[in-house]
């Protein structure tokens, strides 16, 4: 504060035009979104689903779809059933790709998580 007084800056009458300040509730909340998140989520098991489960699901859904469509081939239920088959087949193929991509080489897996360690450093140039 001494520097202020020494240089003669009058704090009481600031030179800038001050419009009435809007209460900054919303931006403040948005700046710290983690502060306002409720922490009472269910604790979920974080294990990724295995491939066999998905294959079983695919098989079961195809069975169901065939049954639903046997009654009425153009109903919404039939279409939704085949859509489910498609969704599960896509999930199954993604799981297969993921399994093929990762998990084959332990060094690759380690290095994808820790690229800065000595074993994993690559020199491109």
């Amino acid at each position: 504060m001494t520097t202020v007084a020494a240089t003669g800056l009058n704090v009481a009458t600031p030179r800038a035009v001050v419009l009435p300040a809007a209460r900054l509730h919303a931006p403040v909340r948005l700046n710290y979104p983690w502060k306002f998140v409720s922490m009472n989520r269910m604790v979920m098991s974080v294990k990724a689903t295995s491939e066999g489960e998905i294959s079983d699901k695919v098989e079961k859904s195809i069975q169901e779809a065939k049954e639903t469509c046997a009654d009425d081939p153009v109903s919404g239920e039939c279409v939704a059933a085949w859509d489910e088959v498609e969704e599960l087949s896509a999930a199954a193929s993604h799981a297969r790709d993921k399994k093929k991509a990762g998990g084959s080489d332990p060094l690759e897996e380690y290095c994808s998580d820790n690229p800065e360690t000595d074993e994993c450093r690559t020199y491109d140039n």
Partner: protein, 402 residues
Amino acid sequence: MAAVSTIYSTQALNSTHFLTSSPSSSTSKQVFFYRRHQSQTNRRFNTIITCAAQQTVVIGLAADSGCGKSTFMRRLTSVFGGAAEPPKGGNPDSNTLISDMTTVICLDDYHSLDRTGRKEKGVTALDPRANDFDLMYEQVKALKSGIAVEKPIYNHVTGLLDAPELIQPPKILVIEGLHPMFDERVRELLDFSIYLDISNEVKFAWKIQRDMAERGHSLESIKASIEARKPDFDAFIDPQKQYADAVIEVLPTQLIPDDNEGKVLRVRLIMKEGVKYFSPVYLFDEGSTISWIPCGRKLTCSYPGIKFNYEPDTYFDHEVSVLEMDGQFDRLDELIYVESHLSNLSTKFYGEVTQQMLKHADFPGSNNGTGLFQTIVGLKIRDLYEQLIANRATVPAEAAKA
């Protein structure tokens, strides 16, 4: 013009004041530097320095069935550098991919009905009734303005909506799924949009390749699945291609008569003319019609070879340029030869397209037009991003001078 909404009391002579600009002006933060001359003159020196607070570029990609791990996304994120991975420590079934510069959001996360809900109502995931477009619009808008959001997760394995995950606003946001361009408000937010149009024969061939390994599936079940979804697809998803800035159309080859294996593909890159910051790729002469077979004396290709076509055209009442490639690459020198004859690729150095293709030689489509055009679109998006950022940085500076 920056309206002063709050001012904090001056603590030192040469201090900086953080002023949040009013909502009506630009979203970038503006830092006012106040300096008083020792000579007590009445002149004030105000230097405005703008820190562009997170001007996110939003890209939309429309593609059928499944999202998050697709090849296009991996190529795109690779162009910007770094590998895209699911968020660490979160839900392992999350569909989101995050790299240094990009975040890819799967629009399946905005399903309003989970799998049982859809089965009860008899709607497919393609139906807009199964998606919450209001939430999609709000969250994409928030991310675009630099605000983090809690985005729901749709678990493709269980078919349920899991607890939301926190998404930080990235530099480039890619929204991928079935309906990025369906809702008009979301469409307005997109800086660039792409539609992957796979023809029915190719779709059938690809699905056979994908699903025949699954027990329970047979040719009939695959066919039934495609046909059951077709009416909804044609009604809701297909019309989006008229809004796309770039359409990648994948068709069966014309080089092999009666080919039904779907291994060799004819791929057309349809690029809309007149899109800001997007200059279409061309072959030899812009706006002319060229048919080019690179295989000959200088380049030897194996069967069935490569054929290129370039022509201007109209697509849903828009002027477009179409670059088409039919055939397959077998060797590196074919790829570099083709790259050296294409113009307006937005590469930073000679051979960048080839390098990107080689980097991901194990991805599907690396030997044909799908990989090539996906890589080129990735470079175009990088170019668009750099131009957009440069433009947004200069605009406030000009406004300050005025």
